[in-house]
Point group: C2
């Protein structure tokens, strides 16, 4: 005993940290992993701190003072480019949400201004998105039909937007970005793919010029509706639609081949709208089976703050829409902001983004806008057009203002079929076959999560599809925690390293010793499993050595990888200790980590097992054991 202690490295048995210290550290890791207040800690309170704090919370004060004409040239170009995309997209997505088309234009005027002040991504371009538009149409449409009572429907959409904004702001203020983390990438891919498929099929309504259509949103109902109304099909509409769609898809193809021609595909929707308007104006297309958007009034966003509807009979539905769309909008916006920031090696603060999105939707809901976020298509165009700061959003916003004040009536001739073609073309780009195949190749469970979202959205409904996918991702996490893999370690020849014997088949066994590495965490859900599994390892080890000589005499549990343990886990270790003792097998614990060690001390595990059974490395444990074995023999 005494000799062992001299030679071996010391395990730290210090007293556990206080509860307060542990709690503080846990809360910090959970809610403030990016340590946002680091910059203030060194300073004394004073003018500089106030200035820094203002800059921290309102990012425009950080970049505007250093803004110059050179940067503005870039932003001006980018801003005009995204404005030319924002007009057709705004009208199309409003149409998708069963809202008056002008609402789509309003929604590209106010929210970008707010985002420019509070947002901290340099590349995001703000506007409505297809998935949320459809979700709003479905969910609110179930309660109030937009045909029967368009005003109430519109007001409920504003209310849902308001709630979504409040929810997003709260998430940001409470630093609950962790919720967004649970919308995993496979979930988003599947959800987007399913939604895009659905929207594509729905747009066949516009392409064929149908007047009657199902309000349901599963693939089966939509397809049935298209083929049952064959007598309403208008070939004029279909021809125009297919021409537009072909043109749009060609510009997309062009962008792929020649990335520097991105502006062709960026302005193509605007070209389609303009050509469509001219065509329907001169050819009186509306009299030949091609429907048009209809009257669009001149003028800026009217106030809608007094239309926010708190009637208790509509609260459940608006709240539901707000929670789902708010979360999806955040997940999409933040993920896109982050991925573009990464290309420039910059960072985006998720929690600040949530506040920015939230404020922009609250103010939006007061000024006749519906839910907006940073959609992929627009942001990509903004990035490619060379935007430098959020100023490009302000430029876009000013363009929209001019449009609303001067040009709005011109767009009333836009044929619906052109909008359908624009939406279809955008949606075809959102089905990410390559990513889905990548998931299939690398991780089958991620593929399953993705397909649950895809198929759920396409064949059941958007909210169920989303929930199925998120649920499956959570099940995966829980399953992991219930069955953290253990492995048998062996010694790599000519080294002091112990590695997984399955991964490194050449490792050597030490006779009589079974070294196991436990997975993390050792929680209630896994404790039965761990006990069973350890017994099986011993059994298997004994089976291999048929003879009686090298039967397991010493079990080493390597806890290096175990970050967290709960009381049930510690109970289990105590039980394992007892069980092994009854079979006269020695148990050694290797390298328990800080949190684990603290709980072992508090629960008197260390007293029960003995400090002499806890080691810093496997080598020490084996040495100590062979020493005690040899002394036993003497």
């Amino acid at each position: 005993m005494s000799i062992e202690n001299l030679t071996r490295k010391k395990v730290n048995f210090d007293n556990p940290r206080s509860f307060r210290a542990t709690l503080k550290s846990h809360l910090k890791e959970t809610f403030f992993p990016d340590d946002p207040f680091r910059q203030f800690r060194k300073e004394k309170f004073g003018g500089r701190v106030v200035k820094k704090a203002v800059q921290y919370f309102i990012p425009i004060f950080e970049w505007l003072p250093n803004y110059n004409l050179r940067l503005f040239q870039f932003d001006l170009l980018a801003g005009i480019t995204i404005a030319s995309l924002a007009i057709p997209q705004g009208i199309s997505y409003a149409e998708l949400a069963n809202l008056p088309p002008i609402i789509g234009l309003y929604s590209s005027f106010v929210p970008p201004l707010i985002y420019a002040v509070f947002g901290n991504s340099k590349h995001i371009a703000v506007g409505p998105v297809a998935a949320c538009s459809l979700l709003i149409a479905n969910t609110i449409g179930e309660k109030v039909s937009h045909n029967d009572d368009p005003t109430l429907y519109l007001y409920l959409v504003f209310t849902a937007t308001f709630f979504a904004g409040v929810f997003q702001t709260l998430l940001g203020l409470l630093r609950l970005g962790i919720l967004v983390d649970f919308l995993s990438h496979p979930t988003i891919t599947g959800f987007m793919g399913g939604t895009a498929t659905l929207i594509c099929l729905q747009q066949l309504k516009g392409i064929f010029g149908l007047k009657h259509f199902t309000t349901k949103t599963d693939v089966v109902s939509v397809l049935r509706s298209i083929f049952q109304n064959r007598d309403e099909w208008r070939w004029q509409s279909a021809v125009v639609g297919i021409i537009f769609l072909t043109f749009l898809q060609f510009t997309r193809f062009l962008r792929r081949k020649r990335p520097n021609l991105f502006w062709v595909s960026a302005t193509a929707p605007m070209v389609v709208v303009a050509v469509g308007c001219l065509f329907s104006y001169f050819a009186h297309a509306d009299k030949h089976g091609i429907q048009i958007v209809g009257h669009l009034n001149r003028g800026l966003n009217p106030l809608s703050i007094k239309h926010i509807n708190f009637d208790s009979q509509y609260i459940p539905v608006t709240l539901k829409v707000a929670l789902i769309t708010g979360l999806i909008a955040l997940a999409e916006g933040i993920a896109i902001g982050r991925s573009f920031a990464l290309m420039k090696n910059e960072q985006v603060d998720g929690n600040k983004e949530m506040i920015a999105f939230g404020l922009m939707n609250i103010v939006g809901s007061f000024t006749s806008c519906y839910l907006t976020t940073g959609p992929f298509s627009k942001t990509a165009v903004n990035f490619n057009a060379g935007c430098r700061t959020a100023m490009s959003n302000i430029v876009m916003s000013i363009c929209m203002m001019l449009t609303l004040l001067l040009l709005a009536p011109l767009f009333s001739y836009t044929p619906l079929v052109a909008l359908s073609a624009i939406i279809m073309s955008a949606m075809l780009g959102l089905i990410d076959y390559e990513e889905i195949y990548h998931l299939f190749k690398v991780d089958k469970f991620d593929f399953l999560i993705c397909m649950a979202g895809f198929i759920g959205v396409a064949f059941i409904s958007m909210d169920y599809g989303l929930m199925m996918s998120v649920g499956l991702a959570m099940v995966r996490t829980l399953l992991y925690a219930a069955r953290p893999a253990t492995c048998r370690l062996g010694k790599i020849q000519d080294s002091y390293l112990y590695r997984d014997a399955e991964q490194y088949p050449g490792v050597t066994r030490i006779p009589g010793v079974l070294a196991l590495q436990l997975g993390s965490p050792v929680y209630f859900a896994s404790s039965n499993y761990i006990r069973e599994r350890i017994l099986r390892w011993i059994q298997e080890e004994n089976d291999i050595s048929n003879g009686g000589e090298s039967i397991v005499k010493h079990v080493l549990l390597d806890l290096s990888g175990v970050i967290s343990i709960d009381t049930t886990g510690i109970e289990t270790l105590i039980e394992i200790h007892k069980m092994l003792k009854a079979r006269s097998i020695k148990l050694s614990i290797i390298n328990p980590r800080l949190d684990v060690m603290e709980k072992m001390i508090r629960s008197h595990f260390v007293d029960k097992v003995g400090k002499q059974s806890i080691f810093l490395c496997i080598e020490d444990a084996i040495e100590a054991s062979s020493f005690s074995l040899s002394t036993q023999k003497e």
Copy 2:
């Protein structure tokens, strides 16, 4: 490059295993962690295998052939002891479930016989339990009142028992013991404590001899009901009750002080019933405000198979009761069986136990029994009385049969107040203050999970309390997966060991090198966190060394503890690689485990980062890096 490769230990870059191999291994770990068919694998098919299989599935064939008189002596004594407890408990718990008292006796006759055949615990004594009895009364009582339609109520209880049995059997056959694993120990402690508190307070009804009482089961309603009906209080009843309760508590106290006097407390409830019967028979107690049980017919269990009710209007409620009580019964029974087996260094197969419990409840529901499991109190008595095999259940069953055939009418004089005292005394023993304090001391989150169950059950309702507690335990697991702690490693002096710098403050830093150990798993929920956290580590490291000299030039990510990674996790590692590259920091990956390495190869991560950046240990990575740094300088 070439010199490095010669000296360092080789990382295994073999081709990934096939999907089938991985899936098979995962399914095995998830559903067959105990490898139940190991014993059959070596044998050829034939008589021996059939015999072994029969013995495996029907354990009685394993122990009965070797059974002898010496063992029977022990089991006989234990069986008689638990029978004397089963009679008062059966009547009391049936009363608690608002069932005719005779059902409680029936339930201690048939199910123990079935369990003796299929069960594989030697110590469990079968019978009804308080928590499930109350849960049945509440949930079915909400749909059908036992006062208005006692027959329908009774039939629904049989139906719920039938469904519970089917559910339990299915769980066992599908090897879904993993579901039971999610009822953690703190949840059970809290749930039991809350239920026991509630039942204790409810029994004040019996003690005070009240006739009117609330059907609600939260502490507030129960207390209000007791104090609002003060005019119904009967002092005679209260005096008798308090005497009985004092006696019962004294025998429990005696057992604690003198464990070998356990039989005193085991038979005390029977004594109370006997004394109560005599007292109420001779003193005509029912005429002095003390209510009695009333008519109990002679005769064995009537068949109830044709009373199982599949009426669609009752299916939801019976199914709900079945799922909740079935799961609680399993969790309690298996946990208790396991903990007693552990004392004798034996094992209990959870999945086989589920099938045994399930069959016993299915057969029970056909023979006028309600839900049974292996309750703690009875099993402890059985164990202490020295039972050797499941034969003690058969002995108890025969005793019950004799009681039903001969003695049943005698018990009709049992005063309700005696039953209340018996239940109260049993419940007081179920509130495990010491365990709750232990949880508080060792793990505050486990304490929270426990208290959510306790307070939820006591103040809201039993099912909500249970769900709150289980939900919180799941949130804990998900939170863990969202924020797996990383730590900075330092070298322990005079060794090759790298350990957590926070845990071992004496470790040395290597200038320019930042070694981080990642926690497991690296999943979608944690990937943003891990990226942010690594950037913060670099920031902190640079802050410490104010000067420019020892700024981080090389980041090592030790993945030894990471057992599982998903596509989002791998994306994140690729992103980290890009970010570091942009800051001209070298990234090395240390010791990726089998699953992680396979996914890294499949997703071409290895190609992107380069095989020369992946090492088997930290030492190798540092050597390689200093080598490449020194060659750069030359």
